[in-house]
Symmetry: none
Subunit: 96 residues, 2 copies
DNA sequence: TTCAAATGTCGGCGTTCGCTGACAATATAG
DNA sequence: CTATATTGTCAGCGAACGCCGACATTTGAA
């Protein structure tokens, strides 16, 4: 599974949590976070802190790997190329 | 590369940034973050927000993948006998 | 449908974020 | 070595965090 946005991350965690038969309250307790944090995170909270995220992944036995995209894992007809800089610039401008 | 902690994440980004010949200021600007954020993040800041982290990975052309640790990412050398139908069924079920 | 569990939402609170600007401390040239 | 670029640190600021408690809504099983 490829992760590009906070929402994708949240959905992956949600699926896995359910697959393991855990409730939000149970998982939150395991990772030492509030239940409300999990609620927001699974729904794509973009400003969640990575420490908790990594703990969640660990608690769900999910492995996180990073690799340069010029060494493709799977020959992709894959993700739509996005100009991140343009996006960010737009976002910044929007905030002013 | 496997990621378990915020520090590992920071170090991976740092290595990649240097490999691409970017300065902290340059990368921070691309991401739309302050330079001080990058400084702290590369040094393992555990409460950095994932939104910025994902933007950093994207800006460095790094792919992030998640998978259960009981489904190894790369088949060890030598063909592993696999029941393709079982795998497909499991995947299908998983998506529901 | 009924009812309990699970999930989502709200307000308030103290803490920490990430930002800017300025300065100190290292690396890297020349 | 000196000079420059890069990286690291500090203080101050507004904004958002993640927490808790309580309540509303949705889900799932009897």
């Amino acid at each position: 599974m490829q992760i590009r946005t906070p929402l994708e991350l949240g959905l992956v965690i949600r699926d896995r949590r359910r697959k393991l038969g855990l409730t939000q309250a149970e998982l939150a307790r395991k990772i030492g976070a509030g239940r409300q944090w999990l609620v927001a995170f699974e729904r794509g909270k973009s400003r969640a802190e990575i420490g908790l995220v990594l703990r969640a992944l660990s608690a769900l036995d999910l492995l996180l790997t990073i690799h340069p995209d010029d060494l493709p894992l799977e020959p992709s007809d894959g993700p739509i190329p996005v100009d991140i800089h343009a996006v960010v610039d737009a976002a910044k401008k929007a905030r002013e």
